[in-house]
């Protein structure tokens, strides 16, 4: 894989920040976009823009075709059974809210249990806490162990305790703080054995490893387009067809019906019944282009590249005194997301001092406050590696952190 050739395709990477070349290590927050994605979206507005489904002219037909094609591309990408299992939302957060507000609201009753984990992003915590308030259900948390792995055996205990009242397990594939991959397949077996459903948040994994809904054996799955080199403003919910068919729409309005009377309506077929309002075609076109662009590079090559940089970053940071990792140093079953703290230096100061050197990282709780609280860690600094990062960039970053550590202490 020729990283230089990849970098040339990302116009933003030629920018300077504070007089220094941009080094972008905030890929877990959002990735940059290749020229082909930007061009495809421009081209759509220049040549094919029209509202889908509702009009009969040529542009509307072209636009509808692109919208439907995007569902098919995403279905193929996830190895779903059918494009009817793919629902476009605004982002992963909206997707998780969709699952809580359709399946959760429709099937859960007082005393039922939803299981999440201590390493979840707030977007996979708060929809369930809200639902718990409304439906008087219970939210249980799979603990994170001292070695930062998820205690998946805790689910066996919950199974014994609640049996068929365990209705939903909603879990992230990869933690956005620890970068570690959770054993979703094992969890799928456990939750299915009591008749519960599995919802997986793959927002962090989808750009870094194959995500196959059949292999993961999940019932729902959610992600955002913008963390996989696609545009902001589009997300995906995958749902098993037999489940989706029985669900009522969450957001209602135009585009989702076959007939409306004064006392009710007939819902349209899947996935249309869940996609109320004017379709976000331009973003779907961008997402489709990003998926196709990623196919130019094999998963193996990308993994090798990102793993090399991850190992260099961990090795470089490990030489700094008073640096503490939030998460393991192991390279096994992880992606290039690394969180850390420097003693007596607030992560916001680290981020600002790195920004002065052109290096973009994230600092704070990364929308995963319960995980930080669990380890009594306070806020952390986080770097996250993408396809276009280089060994030189990792070197600049680790040298800069060393320099900050030596010069900024109280």
């Amino acid at each position: 894989m020729d990283t230089e050739k990849i970098r040339e395709q990302f116009p933003i990477l030629s920018r300077e920040i504070n007089g220094k070349p941009l080094i972008y290590f905030d890929n877990a927050a959002t990735t940059q976009k290749p020229q082909v994605v930007i061009d495809a979206m421009n081209e759509y507005y220049k040549t094919s823009n029209a509202n889908v489904h509702r009009s009969l002219h040529t542009l509307a037909a072209e636009s509808t075709k692109l919208w439907e094609q995007a569902h098919k591309e995403v279905a193929d990408f996830l190895n779903a059974e059918s494009d009817k299992e793919i629902i476009f939302t605004g982002n992963a957060t909206q997707g998780l809210n969709f699952v809580a507000n359709t399946y959760g609201r429709q099937y859960l009753k007082e005393g039922d249990v939803v299981v999440i984990s201590e390493l979840e992003h707030h977007s996979n915590i708060l929809p369930w806490l809200q639902l718990a308030k409304e439906k008087k259900i219970k939210v249980e948390w799979l603990p994170v162990l001292e070695d930062y792995t998820l205690d998946i055996n805790y689910l066996d205990y919950l199974k014994l305790k609640y049996k068929s009242r365990l209705k939903i397990l909603s879990i992230s594939h990869v933690s956005n703080v620890l970068g570690m991959v959770n054993d979703v397949k094992k969890l799928a077996k456990k939750i299915h054995s009591v008749g519960g459903v599995l919802c997986v948040d793959v927002a962090q994994s989808v750009a870094h490893m194959p995500v196959d809904v059949k292999d993961l054996d999940c019932d729902f799955l959610c992600f955002s387009g913008h963390k996989m080199y696609g545009p902001m403003g589009i997300g995906v919910v995958y749902g098993k067809k037999e489940i989706l068919q029985k669900l009522e729409p969450w957001i209602t309005g135009g585009n989702i019906v076959t007939k409306v009377w004064k006392n009710g309506a007939h819902w349209a077929e899947l996935p249309q019944k869940f996609e109320a309002g004017t379709a976000n075609v331009v973003e779907a076109v961008g997402l489709m282009e990003a998926i196709n662009w990623l196919k130019n590079y094999s998963w193996e090559d990308r993994r090798e590249h990102e793993e090399k940089l991850t190992s260099m970053a961990i090795a470089g940071l490990s030489t700094i005194c008073d640096l503490e990792f939030l998460g393991t140093k192991s390279l096994e079953d992880r992606i290039g997301v690394i969180s850390f703290q420097l003693k007596d230096i607030h992560p916001h100061d680290i981020a600002s001092l790195l920004d002065e050197r052109g290096v973009a990282i994230r600092a704070g709780y990364h929308c995963a406050e319960p995980l930080h609280t669990k380890f009594d860690f306070g806020p952390s600094a986080r770097i996250s590696i993408g396809i276009y990062n280089t060994q030189d960039e990792v070197k600049v970053f680790t040298d800069a952190v060393k320099n900050i550590s030596n010069n900024f202490r109280k």
């Binding site: 992560p347 916001h348 600002s352 001092l353 704070g364 709780y365 306070g378 900050i404 900024f408 109280k410």
Partner: protein, 121 residues
């Protein structure tokens, strides 16, 4: 270390914050936090008549938020409440030598916001 944001006086106030304690005798206090980064700020006031007789603060946070509150505490000690209430966000940024549109606005203004809350409590 050369830095546009972390000038000498800011680092000095960060490393040796002034009035950094809990007042033994306070007439009002207020707490605010910045949820995105986890900064926590508590301001203690001792008001006598229309004067801020004494001020102190206790905080957990970044260099900018600590330095801003430290400088602010020196500025307002002994001042009339009406004068303190007149201090604008812009004045705080100017005191820190920071641009108006800096990404660190929230850190810079956490102190003044907590101070305003304490004054109105």
């Amino acid at each position: 270390m050369t830095s546009s944001l972390y000038k000498e006086n800011i680092l000095d106030h960060y490393k040796n914050p002034r009035n950094f304690k809990k007042l033994k005798k306070s007439t009002s206090n207020a707490f605010l936090n910045n949820v995105t980064c986890g900064d926590e700020m508590e301001v203690f006031l001792n008001i006598e008549g229309n004067l801020v007789k004494d001020i102190s603060f206790d905080a957990r946070g970044c260099a900018i938020s600590i330095a801003a509150m430290s400088m602010l505490s020196e500025k307002v000690k002994g001042k009339k409440i009406s004068e303190v209430k007149k201090i604008t966000d812009d004045e705080v940024l100017k005191m820190l030598g920071m641009e108006k549109e800096t990404p660190r606005m929230k850190c810079a203004l956490l102190g003044i916001e907590t101070l305003r809350k304490a004054l109105s409590s």
